[in-house]
Symmetry: C2
Subunit: 318 residues, 2 copies
């Protein structure tokens, strides 16, 4: 199946052999000056389906034998799963909150995924996934983060960063379920790179920060309503926690105001369209620049998918 | 001087030896499907100072012996000139219309350039430049387009595109003074690449299209008030015309509505923040997709510098 698909591509440059696009490295000197931190960006906004989640989804779909997939996703993992299934001739159903960005729902459908919209006040995503799995026991239930293939897929970003010729001492990335940060820890360490991995988490959804402080997994009582809709998870995954409890150097908790300000900074000083979740690493630098004095920081901009009206609202708030 | 500056850089990756960042190639399959055209993007929005103009400005400032520069610019050439002067220890004055995007004015100042704001209804940019040149006869008057160094600087983009492994039959790029398209023709041809170069021009500012039809240089009576503020020029430059009269395969004239729609398409389907001028190539595909049937097109996204409020207004118009 894989080789059939590849035959339709004309050159390796148009679609890399493993279907993962290298991350886009962006120097942003004006942003660095404004934040007072020596930084560069690793932007996953131009990855397939517009976020790092494709790394994970492609790894899962290409490595398990199942033909059908079920997943809960606030959007980016859903798009990525749909695209991976489309490429590999498989199918999927994606459970999404009704409040999801419209563009994300449309994108899943455009790539052949089936969308199952739920009211998260009535049923949790995991309960709805369990219902669907009962109806189709041969489908693979794909966690967007708590899955070894997902972590391995995201680790490809860590591997890429480790291979950069530019030195850096710290990598900042959003924390939701912990799939991205766990992948970064794994990828960097396996490549022998010692950069500290620091999570960036909304104060409104700070279960990971609380978990690190408590030395055990802390769970939110309900989905937090942060602007950063990619990290509206109730807790870290178990597999992610196992890596992050010792793997994360720190977590910076950020206000909603700083998330919006970070989106605007990326727009104004780096010409980069990021979704609120994608701007969390910049929000962390805005919150605690003094923690990064004398270091060079790599900020992972995890995704770019955001409704134009929501984005316009954020720009107008500046 | 040049080597002194380079010593402050830690690795070649952080600043390329010749100070030009390679263009960012972005495959955009959803955008391609929407337009019905096989395309990829060559984005100059992550170039130094956020537009292709740095290629030209750096070439000029590093090749003429003058210490001071005077230029008229709707903004991007001004920023680029200021940055090139900053890098090379020189100085500049940039004449800009009062109506220029605020972010562009601020950026010129941030990089050490002096801004001279004018009311274009009272004095033309060229007349103001002539006044300033009279006051400082030892300054070099730098045209943003009608200058052999400028064309040579922009030709570096053509050279880069010619070296891509991906095949393409046509390159679309905005036309204002003709600096970018002339550079593309020069760079591609010198590298032996035969791709057709097609200009994209606002209908409101269609002097280049009229010039091609008339077989002689046609001049607008005043600066056209198009949304695409980077191409508010009264005519092509003489040196540009010499190259473009035979070098351009075609010019597509686009409406203001299609320029705004193209900005939105790049936002929604390619996660790319482009300024209206930067979206002209996409507006051209939106206007006349049938002209590109069966071809693979490279769309040059020339720049990304746009005021957040103007951009929010465009997004809300969708």
């Amino acid at each position: 199946m894989k080789s059939l698909v590849h035959q339709t591509q004309s050159t390796p440059e148009r679609e890399p052999a493993n279907w993962i696009k290298p991350t886009t490295i962006i120097e942003a000197p004006r942003l660095a000056r404004k934040l007072g931190v020596d930084l560069f960006l690793a932007s996953e906004t131009f990855q397939h389906t517009g976020s790092f989640k494709f790394r994970a989804a492609y790894q899962v779909v290409s490595h398990v034998p199942h033909a059908r997939f079920i997943a809960a996703s606030s959007g980016n993992f859903g798009q990525a799963l749909a695209r991976a299934c489309q490429i590999l001739g498989k199918s999927c159903t994606v459970v999404m909150p009704e409040s999801s960005a419209r563009v994300k729902v449309e994108a899943v459908r455009e790539m052949g995924g089936k969308v199952d919209l739920i009211d998260v006040q009535r049923i949790s995503r995991s309960d709805r996934v369990a219902e669907l799995a009962k109806l189709d026991p041969e489908a693979y239930v794909a966690s967007p983060y708590d899955d070894d293939f997902v972590i391995k897929g995201n680790a490809t970003l860590g591997t890429e960063l480790a291979q950069l010729r530019t030195p850096f001492e710290v990598v900042l990335a959003p924390v939701g379920g912990g799939g991205l940060t766990a992948g970064l820890v794994k990828g960097l360490r396996e490549a022998g790179h010692r950069a500290a991995v620091v999570g960036a988490e909304p104060m409104k959804a700070n279960d990971a920060a609380r978990s690190l402080r408590a030395h055990h997994l802390v769970v939110n009582t309900q989905e937090p309503n942060t602007l950063a809709d990619g990290v509206r998870t109730v807790s870290l995954g178990q597999r992610n926690w196992e890596i992050l409890r010792d793997g994360l150097a720190d977590i910076i908790e950020v206000t909603e105001e700083n998330i919006a300000a970070a989106v605007r900074l990326l727009f104004n000083l780096a010409n980069l369209k990021a979704e609120p979740t994608g701007a969390l690493a910049i929000a962390a630098l805005l919150t605690a620049p003094e923690k990064f004095a004398g270091q060079r920081a790599c900020c992972v901009i995890s995704g770019g998918n955001v409704d134009p009206q929501s984005y316009a609202e954020i720009l107008r708030g500046g």
